[in-house]
Symmetry: C2
Subunit: 420 residues, 2 copies
């Protein structure tokens, strides 16, 4: 006899079997009905289907679009400002972000660049300055890596104050995970013969705002940096940097320069206005911190989340966790506002600097409560609660908010954003 | 001093630096030009970009569509026949297949199913037969896994004979890799209380052809099977089984029943016509083999590949390798028709039962030759050459062709399919 059937209790069979025999009210989301016959009644008849095509479109029954912050027709090309189009985390499953739903972030719209005319200038403290075409880059050795990308402004809504009507797309929709493919930065460094005294690299974009950042040449960045031309198996999309962008796993989004047109090597930061003004962190003492570049350990419950409604009984809590410091090792979930915690299951691929999916089965007794998640990474970093985060960092700054996200649930099952 | 710069020779810096100083002719694909100034000349001017949107479209400069076998307007709804739309492997990078370019395969077109009306009947040798809604399935514990799916007919063009003008999309375009998300089959088995004497499971689709297959309840299938409702982070697309399909990592595509409407448990195979007639393997002795279900170790060079043209000098050979028996451990590449072999680099995530990307830098001397790849999996299976494969299996059968793929290169650099 094969020992091939697993333990029913571990898989909470009892709860689901109870649910199947019970009413929707006590069964929460689970309303499976006992079968009364060997055939299905009341299902649509079968018939010939649609033609196969050059692409596989989505089902007309699937509504999954992002919500751009700039309404159609409205433009925002002020380089000092920005427009976002956030990922609908509440509609995703697994860990990979659908390619056309990766969050978009731009200071001057989306350039439509001709790859045959695009060039990347590599110069500064190098033996052999080069002008690279996309063809050059694609002929070089390449690597692929599944990793998250996160805007450093992700989550700031809840730092100071936020309405209770925001969704998880509003609060955390500026993080996504893709497979990125391109040329290792270390290869390019060797190719042009970067001077060993060089400690910084300027990366400049070909967008109208000419976003440019100074990047420290740390071991981590040299070992993991990629000049990326591919995402999820295909060429970059224009909103994500076509034909080539910089990808630095774990580092704030704006360093991952899109539409890359120049890399200059030097021995000190280049002090662009993006790092002297915009992307600095105002501290409680009024002084500004520069070059805070790493995205910290983070997590959020994506369901149930803002503006959803749940029923009493069996409910599944699920969400995403990520850290710029490496692999997620543990996610805990509290269903009583942080008084007690349970370890959630990690249900998918758990890769370094990639989003991990967590899940925890929970029976809601119908009384008002708060749910919250807390993640830990392989370096032992633990996601702080909001009060501890503010006590340490204050509320003057705009970026790198990574405190725990709390969702309140009222007696009617309405889920709302809570600043706690 | 940081020891942070890697060994130039390991990254073949010398070859590329030579290339940058040389002509395109001697540099092959690498034509990087030395920079003569600190600014870029002859590049288009910067300007405001397009609006951000609800989706991120592809660049108009990217042509990546599949080639459906049935031309627009032509229909093929004969259940005994089939239509394909193959993945353009030559246009991909990395290991993940773009969601809308996963290969399509159907016996009666693509059903457009309403998820609110769809049901899955689970019955047979079970304690508690159930009728499941999609809401039920989404409320159950879920797992996510990155794995390949392959049509058992993939590659058959080259088994008997094939024109020298086919591309890698024609020869190997019926395999793709996605992240699949859904309910573990083991959970459902426990939920309905499958009789421990049950050894087979019938899976039936809701398509017009009513494709149905008997699946043996092996430890591997129970441990790894998924009732999948998600692919690459989003709901399944109609062509891939929306709203729910069976996913059995490593097993031939037609077992992974799309548009799943029924699972019936029994103690013997159900002998549908799909397994008594269509998906059987005619042996050299004229007898037919049933239930050959596992996809064997395989690989193909995707570039340079059929109908491409290369230049003498530095060229990069890249391709994909996969095995239904587990993880790819080694890919070798020969540039002299199999006389000598070099170990290729595996450049991306290498996951069990997922496609792995390999890469090998090669300098072509301009003389006619043949290039071929050979993969090995963690169980020690080695991909056979075509002659050995045919000597063992003959040429009567149609499915599970997994022999090495050879591409010929003539003195002009034209790459052509070769039956060798």
């Amino acid at each position: 006899m094969l020992k091939r059937f697993s333990d029913p209790d571990r898989l909470s069979r009892r709860r689901f079997l109870t649910a199947t025999a019970a009413t929707a009210a006590t069964a929460g989301g689970v309303i499976a009905a006992p079968a009364t016959a060997d055939t299905l009644a009341d299902v649509p008849p079968r018939g010939p289907g649609d033609d196969l095509g050059a692409y596989s479109p989505r089902s007309p029954y699937v509504q999954i679009a992002r919500i751009p912050e700039a309404a159609p027709g409205q433009r925002n090309v002020d380089p000092s400002a920005a427009i976002n189009s956030k990922s609908p985390l509440d509609k995703f499953v697994g860990t990979i972000t659908p390619t056309d739903l990766h969050y978009e972030r731009s200071h001057s719209g989306v350039p439509n660049l001709d790859p045959s005319k695009h060039r990347v200038l590599v110069h500064g403290m190098v033996k052999q300055p080069l002008v690279l075409t996309l063809e050059d880059l694609r002929a070089m050795p390449s690597i692929s890596r599944i990793a998250f990308l996160e805007c450093t402004g992700n989550g700031w809504e809840n730092w100071k104050s936020a309405p209770d009507t925001v969704t998880v797309q509003n609060t955390h929709g500026l993080v996504s995970t893709h497979e990125w493919t391109g040329v290792p930065l270390s290869f390019l460094i060797d190719l042009v013969g970067v001077d060993r005294a060089s400690t910084w690299m300027l990366a400049e974009g070909d967008d109208g705002a000419a976003v440019a950042r100074s990047i420290p040449l740390t071991d981590e960045i040299i070992a993991e940096g990629i000049l990326a031309y591919g995402q999820n198996g295909e060429p970059l999309r224009p909103a994500h940097g076509f034909p080539v962008r910089l990808f630095l796993p774990g580092f704030e989004g704006n360093l991952n320069i899109k539409w890359l047109r120049r890399l200059k090597f030097g021995d000190q930061p280049f002090m662009t206005r993006w790092e002297t003004a915009r992307y600095t962190q105002l501290r409680p003492d009024g002084k500004a911190r520069q070059f805070q570049l790493k995205q910290d350990v983070n997590s959020v419950i994506t369901a149930p989340s803002g503006m959803m409604r749940i029923k009493p009984g069996s409910n599944r809590i699920t969400g995403l966790a990520w850290s710029g410091h490496g692999r997620i090792t543990r996610v805990e979930v509290s269903a009583d506002g942080g008084a007690t915690w349970a370890v959630a299951a990690l249900t998918g691929p758990v890769l370094p600097k990639a989003q991990a999916r967590f899940q925890h089965d929970w029976v809601w007794d119908g009384r008002p409560t708060k749910i919250v998640s807390r993640s830990t990474d392989e370096q032992g970093n633990v996601q702080p609660d909001r009060a501890s985060f503010i006590a340490q960092v204050g509320t003057n700054a705009l970026f790198h908010y990574s405190a725990q996200q709390t969702w309140g649930i009222d007696e009617a099952g309405h889920v709302r954003n809570v600043l706690a």
